[in-house]
Symmetry: C2
Subunit: 228 residues, 2 copies
DNA sequence: ATTATAATTTAGACAAAGCTAAAAATATGT
DNA sequence: ACATATTTTTAGCTTTGTCTAAATTATAAT
């Protein structure tokens, strides 16, 4: 009886499920429900059950009927490699192909399934081993290591403290375009001036400019922990 | 009744058939047989019949039962765009990703199916609008125009004439590696010294070096028509 | 504890893209 | 022209990934 050392081929659909399950596991750790996966994948729970069985047979996750799933060691490794590809391609699109950060997701969804380890390693080198993608999300390295920085949400900063914007929690095109429109970019230092009890909006200062941000906006902006 | 202006989505398989049919049409013009397509696609004639029906319904080719197929205007345009993508990606892989010319085909086969016109146009710009790919094959431009140069096969050059090597007819990895091993590259000037009647091999001179090439090799090397 | 509700799984169907084996049409040889 | 060979098509099956509808299990409420 062999230990399967040969990496089996995965279909795009299988890869997409794996990635979705990984992301769900980040959001709230523990066991992941069929319904949650269906929601994330925009599909039906019955389809999820089928796929989850297949992924479980292939050893990417642990699954017991009616008990939900969680990724195996192997599943995590595989998911990290897919995320690595996705984020490297996003970086490539923004840095070299003149895309803006709200345009890259769909295309990276396609590119992340290209099978060639050499290509990904060369892309990594070509981009000078970036640590984060255009949305500030960390890029796993060749060994699956992800650099994690101390961070908090802008909405949790105290009055009169500041932080540098290093990422977004929601990376939907509409949110990203909102930020562009209001000239808020990764790397900007944001100082909290005032908090409005009524609607939890906050008044901030960015590079001399003052503006007020709704709670929804503030709770989707990730800033450095150590405030100056 | 609309003229379909909206480009319908094509599956990867459909795109592959279209490309194969286009290439077959180049090789020997006229009507293309089911068997020839099956051979090219490494599949069975019955599968070809099914696919050809679909492509015909979608208006990419003209098909009458038992009469073979040929591409429609629309099919040609589509095929040229797929070839454009394939060859731009091959160029990218060699020029920017440190691949050698015998490694790029399989990966370009995957990349050619990525759907994003903007990406391809940006890639074109990024590579400075190359006219030929790493194997010397012409890259169709955004409008489907292909630059064609006067060329002949090395095996057809007269004794004591020379030509510049501009392409290969066979771009299999084994042939390309043979050329690498013998230090024959695109751009090299090759002079024909002698022809051997017995086996049609030829004796040539390349940058001072003399070597003899079998007929098979010589008839797969494309050189400029106008010999110096 | 029993029932109602929600979550999950099963069963059966469908489309895409392939296959094999058999049938039909075309082409070829004498 | 007719029989044979070749090419092409059809019919029916397989797999992947989806769906709907029905059945089953788990959870929550009284």
């Amino acid at each position: 009886m062999y230990f399967c050392s040969i990496e089996k081929f995965m279909t795009q659909s299988e890869e997409n499920y794996l990635k979705a399950i990984y992301h769900l596991g980040r959001k709230n750790p523990g066991v992941i429900s069929t319904n949650a996966i269906a929601e994330e994948m925009q599909t039906k729970p019955s389809s999820v059950t089928d796929m989850v069985k297949r992924l479980s047979e292939k050893g990417f996750l642990n699954y017991k009927k009616y008990q939900g799933v969680n990724l195996s060691e192997r599943g995590i490794r595989k998911a990290l490699m897919i995320i690595r590809k996705h984020r490297l391609w996003e970086t490539f699109l923004v840095e070299k192909m003149n895309f803006s950060w709200d345009e890259v997701h769909e295309i990276a969804e396609q590119l992340e399934h290209i099978q060639s380890e050499k290509l990904i390693d060369e892309l990594d080198r070509f981009l000078a081993y970036p640590k984060v993608d255009p949305h500030g999300d960390p890029i796993p390295d060749k060994n699956g290591e992800v650099q994690s920085r101390k961070s908090k949400l802008l909405s949790n900063l105290e009055i009169n403290t500041s932080g540098v914007c290093i990422g977004v929690r929601d990376s939907s095109a509409s949110f990203l375009r909102y930020l562009d429109k209001n000239q808020i970019a990764l790397g900007d230092r944001i100082q909290v001036m005032e908090k409005e009890d009524f609607d939890d909006s906050i008044r901030v200062q960015i590079g001399g400019r003052k503006l007020s941000l709704s709670h929804t906006i503030a709770s989707n902006l990730i800033v450095t922990q150590e405030s100056e």
